[in-house]
């Protein structure tokens, strides 16, 4: 699995992250936790066929607060009706 590919076997976590950028300001984002190493996390925002198109790498030292979301906390919009 590449670093931009969603994990179909183990469902990816969705998280909300507050972080500090190089300009010293605090930013807020939400997305799929795609890739986590000792030093950085990769958060994906959108995907086609499970391949991430837009994502951001955040150094762990810049993360102010991170919270993984439970499935019931995520609002689904545009999901196929069953």
């Amino acid at each position: 699995m590449s670093e931009v590919e969603y994990d179909n076997k183990n469902k990816n976590s969705v998280a909300e992250i507050f972080f500090r950028a190089s300009d010293g300001l605090t930013y807020q984002c939400a997305g799929v936790l795609l890739h986590v190493t000792d030093k950085k996390i990769r958060v994906a925002f959108n995907a086609i066929d499970n391949i991430a198109r837009d994502y951001i790498d955040i150094a762990k030292k810049d993360v102010i607060r991170m919270r993984e979301l439970a499935e019931q906390e995520i609002l689904h919009v545009g999901a196929l009706s069953q």
Binding site: E16, C29, F45, D49, I74, V77, G78
Partner: protein, 178 residues
């Protein structure tokens, strides 16, 4: 749409147009479903999926814009017609009555990627070309020339003319034979 707040994290599934430079346009029946995560806002006929936002900086924009909507650092504006739940494929398929190989003009709503912009509405595009096929949920236009209809913008999209465009039928506002 949700009654919850704009800080609610959402998963949005949608379809989008795409273009290519080869001749493989006969290979697929349906467009891939795309998905995005973020904070959503509704604006007219569009929804904005906010990927990254800053609650603390004005970037020189009018204070009122910030107060009303906040600053989007990165996000997507998606026409509500492009949401997967809105797609009524069979009816739309029947609605394309123009014969294949006819020259056409199509007006269609495009998904917009935004970065450091206060804008919250999708673009209306104009594509002129040859109707090369009608698939289950999209049309294929060959030799397309695509420009911005609303808001007006100089140039073509993309800059290098592609050999074909796939346009979701749900995104079409008007299609006519030239």
């Amino acid at each position: 749409m949700s009654k919850r707040g704009t800080n609610e994290v959402s998963n949005v599934k949608y379809v989008d147009a795409h273009y290519g430079y080869g001749s493989d346009f006969a290979d697929i029946d349906t467009l891939p479903i795309q998905e995005a995560y973020g904070y959503i806002e509704k604006s007219g006929g569009d929804i904005t999926v906010v990927f990254i936002k800053s609650p603390k900086k004005f970037f020189g924009w009018p204070r009122s814009v910030f107060r009303r909507r906040g600053i989007i650092i990165k996000g997507l504006v998606i026409p509500q017609t492009n949401l997967v739940s809105c797609v009524q494929v069979d009816d739309l398929y029947e609605s394309i009555s123009i014969p294949v190989n006819a020259p056409i003009t199509v007006l269609w709503h495009n998904v917009l990627h935004i970065a450091n912009l206060p804008r919250r509405n999708s673009s209306l595009m104009r594509t002129e070309g040859i109707l090369a096929g009608v698939a289950k949920d999209h049309i294929v236009v060959t030799n397309p020339s695509t420009t911005w209809e609303v808001p007006k913008q100089v140039g073509q999209h993309p800059e290098k003319p592609p050999s074909f465009y796939r346009i979701p039928i749900v995104a079409i506002k008007r299609i006519q034979r030239r």
